[in-house]
């Protein structure tokens, strides 16, 4: 039996078990426990998407849970809204709150979301306690009507069990769609290298804030279900401690696999209930929380230190259900040769110069990295920048591609000023680049890496991706990406994880990825360093081919031989200043250049 088949079987079995569970446990285990596992799962699925796929942690999911709960409670109880109308309001309200908080915060790199959400959790708690005419204050609100659709009133454990778990399965489906989509690849790219993702035009903050909004929506949904289930709401279940509980569930289950969220919620809840049953019997005290905190704390520490991916991968391994490396694009990729090669950037009626730098200056504290640098690269040229170590070559690339902001001066792309744009915008305008140390997206396959390069040329939206509507575009993207892999000669390794490639292939993969954005201008940062001589020959051919298909190339290179072979013109930098510019042969004989490379004496 193939693994895929086994996985299908296992999934069917799980659904079947879920369906008969209420009858199986009747009279032995309270179904209420499973309703809560479902509710917690919903929130944790959102949190895992956020942590595992957007690389951000929230310590405020309990606040969105609470927000959903209070919106549902207040609109139905105080405003007389029908509960089935209150449900989308609760979901939307929580999503909106998350988006409004997240969108600005994600502009800051790093883990500021932790702080923001933590603050939100406290603020939310204080508001709920104090806006008493709406929320009922600390005592809460009683008598919230149950969910109902027409004459069908949903009450009791069994009804909420089925309802909640339907939502859980739906959330897993949505999450899976998202992870396997254009958006999911973009998120994986951001997680692996935010810089490289920006270099192919991905706006990390845009996607992070949407994932965060989705996680808010799921928490809000759980909150609304909670109030209709218990017909009661009070502030304490949504306090900061519960946010930590949720994080424990998420990490225990495993943040990189969505079903892990359900596993985490189940493990924590069942373990807690087991402790509640066992501990008093052992110690005769009736206090379970005392041991619970220690057990969960230690468990969390052990899991994070020894198995950061949580228990889910181990569970799959134990069941021999580890999925093989996805080869879902192989079929599409086989079309590579059959598709017409994507047309080169059309020779538009454009200004003669593709790239122009004007008086560019970059200062890092006391260090002047680039000093009053101006040059111009006409369309169709191969332009090389050389210079000794520390001459500021890579800094120039970072300034052109928008990773750094110049202290003074400006960069123009086809006459348009780009030096005040964020890196992902510059990339979208057609500046592709590679990095001195290749930054590939290690968790994605070679083919997927190039598909990420196509990000700005594909359109599946976040919402469409959630419902799995991008499949057709994905197939086309795979075929196009395969075309670029063919150009660099990596097509036979399309399904290999990029992290497993040898060094030389990483450089080629970066080139293919950069080509996929259909650049007007391609910046190659030391394309030949670390390559064997055979690979080097390939690279030279490749650079020429790229130029011949209409892309202007700027390269930084130490290998003077390669520069002489390929470049139309050469710029020599030293200490951030231009010391020579011109045809390779002229520059090679320039005494200032020789001095810079070999020292003053050799020159004289």
């Amino acid at each position: 039996m193939t693994t895929t088949r086994r996985l299908q079987l296992a999934a069917t079995a799980v659904v079947a078990v879920l369906a008969v569970l209420p009858f199986a446990v009747a009279g032995r285990i309270s179904l209420g426990i499973f309703v809560f596992i479902g509710l917690f799962s919903l929130i944790v699925i959102g949190l895992s998407l956020l942590a595992g796929h957007a690389g951000q942690v929230s310590l405020g999911q309990a606040a969105f849970y609470g927000l959903g709960a209070y919106i549902a409670a207040i609109t139905t109880l105080r405003m007389g809204l029908a509960p089935w109308l209150a449900l989308p309001l609760a979901v939307g309200g929580a999503a909106l709150a998350a988006y409004l908080l997240g969108a600005p915060i994600f502009v800051l790199r790093g883990h500021f979301l932790v702080l923001g959400t933590l603050g939100l959790n406290v603020v939310m708690d204080v508001l709920v306690r104090n806006v008493q005419h709406l929320t009922g204050g600390p005592t809460g609100l009683t008598g919230i009507p149950p969910l109902s659709i027409g004459a069908l009133v949903i009450v009791g454990d069994r009804a909420y069990y089925y309802l909640t778990w339907s939502f859980v399965l739906a959330a897993l489906w949505v999450g899976r769609n998202l992870v396997c989509s254009r958006v999911g690849r973009a998120l994986a790219a951001v997680r692996s290298s935010e810089v490289a993702a920006a270099a192919v035009g991905i706006n990390a903050a845009f996607y992070k804030s949407r994932v965060f909004a989705l996680s808010g929506a799921l928490a809000g949904l759980a909150g609304a279900l909670y109030v209709h289930y218990l017909s009661f709401v009070s502030p304490s279940p949504f306090a900061f401690n519960f946010s930590i509980d949720l994080l424990v569930m998420s990490v225990l289950g495993g943040i990189y696999h969505l079903p892990g969220a359900v596993a985490g919620a189940a493990i924590v809840t069942i373990l807690r209930e087991a402790l509640r049953t066992i501990m008093p019997r052992v110690l005769g005290s009736g206090a379970s929380a005392e041991y619970e905190i220690v057990v969960f704390g230690l468990l969390l520490a052990v899991v994070v230190i020894f198995s950061p991916a949580g228990v889910w991968p181990h569970l799959l391994a134990w069941l021999r259900l580890e999925p093989g490396r996805s080869s879902r694009w192989t079929q599409a990729a086989s079309l590579a040769g059959m598709l017409p090669e994507s047309p080169p950037p059309s020779p538009r009626a454009e200004p003669a110069s593709v790239l122009r730098l004007e008086g560019l200056r970059k200062q890092f504290g006391g260090l002047l990295a680039v000093d009053n640098l101006s040059f111009e690269v006409p369309a169709g040229e191969i332009y090389a920048i050389i210079g000794p170590n520390g001459a500021g070559k890579t800094t120039v690339f970072n300034l052109i591609s928008g990773l750094l902001r110049p202290t003074r001066g400006a960069v123009y792309l086809r006459g348009r000023k780009v030096s005040d744009l964020p890196a992902y915008e510059t990339a979208a305008l057609g500046v592709g680049r590679t990095f001195q140390t290749p930054k590939v997206f290690a968790d994605l396959t070679v083919l997927e890496n190039v598909m990420v390069g196509l990000h700005r040329l594909t359109t599946t939206s976040f919402t469409a991706a959630m419902f799995g509507l991008g499949a057709r575009e994905d197939a086309q993207a795979a075929a196009r990406a395969a075309g670029y892999l063919e150009v660099v000669g990596l097509l036979d390794r399309a399904d290999v994880l990029a992290g497993a490639l040898p060094f030389g292939a990483l450089r080629l993969l970066e080139v293919a990825r950069a080509l996929a954005i259909r650049p007007v201008l391609l910046l190659l940062d030391e394309p030949a360093s670390g390559l064997s001589s055979a690979e080097r020959t390939e690279v030279v051919k490749l650079i020429r081919h790229i130029r011949d298909t209409g892309t202007t190339v700027v390269l930084v290179e130490h290998d003077v031989g390669l520069v002489m072979e390929t470049a139309d013109r050469v710029l020599v930098l030293n200490y951030g200043q231009r010391i020579a510019e011109g045809a390779p042969r002229l520059v090679r004989n320039d005494p200032r250049v020789i001095a810079a490379y070999l020292g003053e004496e050799a020159a004289s």
Binding site: L118, L403, P422, A423
Partner: protein, 298 residues
């Protein structure tokens, strides 16, 4: 009480609370600059110090000795925590390390609960006597102890970081661990030292406030969070700015609660935090700085 008296009183309690937050904030900065870890469990060091000191004093130990023991144990726990939980995962991402400290927070809190139970414990003030009147405000003697001891700690830290080889090595590790290693500094040891310092500072904070408030196993989190807010406002790097930010935060919190509404006290405090974050984000947007300088070098 007149409004002037009230404002004086708000300022006084704000400064005293801010000073406590500062002790926790300093510990957070010490840990963050040496090991790049945001320690969620920082407040637990304070709870440990407070509980231990009160128990030792109840058992008849002189207060000064009890305080010293409590601070020493907290420092040892800090070092031990680094050795057992942080060092094995030191190469993991910031996300993992953050979660580890959350785990530490839970475990330490649970252990405190097992040892001390849920009952609050009290500690007598360092010097007995009625509160003093300073300007228009009434201040307890213990509050003066808090401020005096914190000042001494700051001076000691300053001398340590600027005048001793050990302190300078620690700073070097914070600035550039790789270079520090090349210079022959044992980075591991420095990291452990930073955690011990953080433990000691936390323990000290606990000993100092136990007479003002009470010692409970779960007192740590909120203290740690407020120290955290101050440290973040100060950029998680500078010791003097952290102290300033924490005191400012204490004063804003106290004035906000006093003049606007005490019901919203924590809401105001953490609202300020969110506002500060959003302000930084908007400033970054306006500056167009999407990828930081540090990231471009990555």
């Amino acid at each position: 009480m007149t409004l002037t008296q009230q404002i004086a009183q708000f300022l006084a309690s704000g400064i005293i609370n801010g000073t406590i937050y500062a002790l926790l904030g300093l510990g957070l900065v010490a840990i963050h600059s040496a090991t790049r870890v945001v320690n969620v469990a920082q407040g637990e060091f304070a709870a440990l110090g407070a509980l231990l000191a009160s128990t030792l004093v109840t058992r008849g130990m002189p207060l000064s000795l009890a305080a010293a023991v409590a601070v020493g144990v907290a420092a040892a726990v800090g070092g031990g925590v680094y050795r057992t939980a942080i060092r094995p995962a030191r190469d993991a991402g910031p996300l993992t390390l953050l979660i580890i400290t959350i785990a530490l927070h839970l475990s330490l809190k649970g252990l405190l609960l097992l040892v001390w139970g849920t009952d609050p414990h009290s500690l007598r003030p360092f010097t007995a006597g009625p509160p003093l009147r300073i300007a228009a405000a009434v201040v307890t003697r213990q509050s003066l102890w808090v401020i005096a001891v914190t000042t001494v700690v700051l001076v000691v830290l300053y001398v340590f970081f600027t005048r001793t080889i050990l302190g300078k090595s620690l700073r070097a590790c914070a600035v550039n661990p790789t270079a520090a290693r090349l210079m022959g500094i044992r980075v591991e040891r420095m990291s452990a030292l930073a955690w011990m310092i953080a433990g000691a500072l936390g323990g000290l904070a606990g000993v100092l406030i136990a007479p003002l408030t009470l010692a409970t196993y779960d007192m740590g989190l909120i203290l740690g969070l407020k120290g955290f807010v101050g440290a973040v406002i100060a950029g998680m790097a500078s010791y003097p700015w952290t102290v300033a930010a924490c005191i400012l935060f204490g004063v804003v919190e106290s004035l906000g609660a006093g003049l606007i509404s005490s019901n919203y006290r924590d809401g105001i405090a953490f609202g300020v935090l969110i506002a500060a974050l959003l302000w930084r984000a908007l400033a970054a947007l306006r500056g167009g700085l999407i990828i930081s300088e540090e990231a471009a070098q990555e």
